[in-house]
């Protein structure tokens, strides 16, 4: 079940934000404290960072556990299973998150 709309779309505390790394311990300096910010960062961060986190399941965990959006987490899991890499990954991830944001804003019951 997806979380409440306000929970999914809120800004989280600094300690709960998503921090983008390119490999173990190598922080890019980019972070996202909300789903909107996360969408923005997908366009900006090094592609290595997207690949690193996707295949560690970090995106799914943060979106499900911190933002409480099981639906989007499930969509991203599907992307991981497709083994997408490079710019195709960036485009596909951007599409999934932007579509989800649009759905949540147009039909708030989508978060239920």
């Amino acid at each position: 079940m997806a979380g409440s709309l306000s929970r999914v779309l809120r800004s989280v505390l600094r300690e709960e934000a998503f921090y983008f790394f390119t490999s173990i311990g190598n922080y890019t300096g980019q972070s996202a404290a909300s789903l909107d910010e996360f969408l923005q960062k997908i366009k900006e961060v090094n592609i290595k960072s997207l690949e690193f986190h996707l295949y560690r399941e970090d995106f799914e965990k943060w979106i499900a556990q911190t933002l409480g959006d099981a639906k989007l987490a499930e969509d991203i899991k599907g992307l991981r299973n497709m083994k997408v890499v490079g710019n195709a990954l960036r485009d596909r991830l951007y599409f999934l998150v932007s579509r989800r944001l649009k759905d949540l804003r147009i039909t708030p019951q989508a978060s239920k």
């Binding site: 600094r14 300690e15 934000a17 921090y19 790394f21 173990i24 311990g25 190598n26 922080y27 890019t28 300096g29 972070s31």
Partner: protein
């Protein structure tokens, strides 16, 4: 030769005592005296004076974690920070038990260097992602995992 160290003059005998203690801090006053051909009471006085002035900071056991069976990995972190926050970040880093050493250095810009230990790569990454990256003023982090040590000394042997 006498060298003044923060107000305390050290002579050749002091330096030779320090050298022996750095090789083996468990040597007795008598053993040091015998090696240097001086009375053990002289060695005692010199060591007392160097302890009182903080020249000898402490005596500690150097543990070989690999041989002790403790599974751990060590990494060197270079943390680029907002210069206004670097002092505060360094002090915060020094409080984490996972952080063994913290220093700052300057090449093209001021950075903070830290030696970090964790049980495995996953725990190392979690620690850096959850405890270091969120600190205000941290701009980016480069981490190198140590794969092999070729030498490890705490003080130079030429003293």
């Amino acid at each position: 030769m006498k060298i003044k160290s923060q107000g305390v003059a050290l002579d050749d005998l002091d330096w030779r005592i320090l050298q022996l203690l750095q090789e083996n801090a468990r040597l007795t006053y008598t053993e040091i005296g015998n090696k240097l051909d001086v009375a053990h009471s002289t060695v005692y006085d010199r060591i007392q004076r160097m302890e009182e002035h903080g020249i000898i900071k402490k005596y500690k056991a150097v543990v070989d974690l690999e041989k002790s069976g403790i599974q751990q990995i060590m990494a060197l972190m270079t943390i680029h920070t907002d210069p206004k926050e670097s002092e505060r970040i360094a002090n915060r880093l020094a409080k984490f038990p996972e952080v063994l050493e913290v220093s700052s250095s300057f090449s093209e810009e001021l950075v903070i260097n830290a030696k970090v230990v964790a049980q495995d790569q996953a725990k190392m990454h979690s620690f850096i992602a959850q405890s270091i990256a969120p600190l205000p003023g941290v701009l980016r982090i480069r981490t190198s995992i140590i794969t092999k040590k070729y030498k490890e000394e705490t003080s130079p042997s030429f003293l």
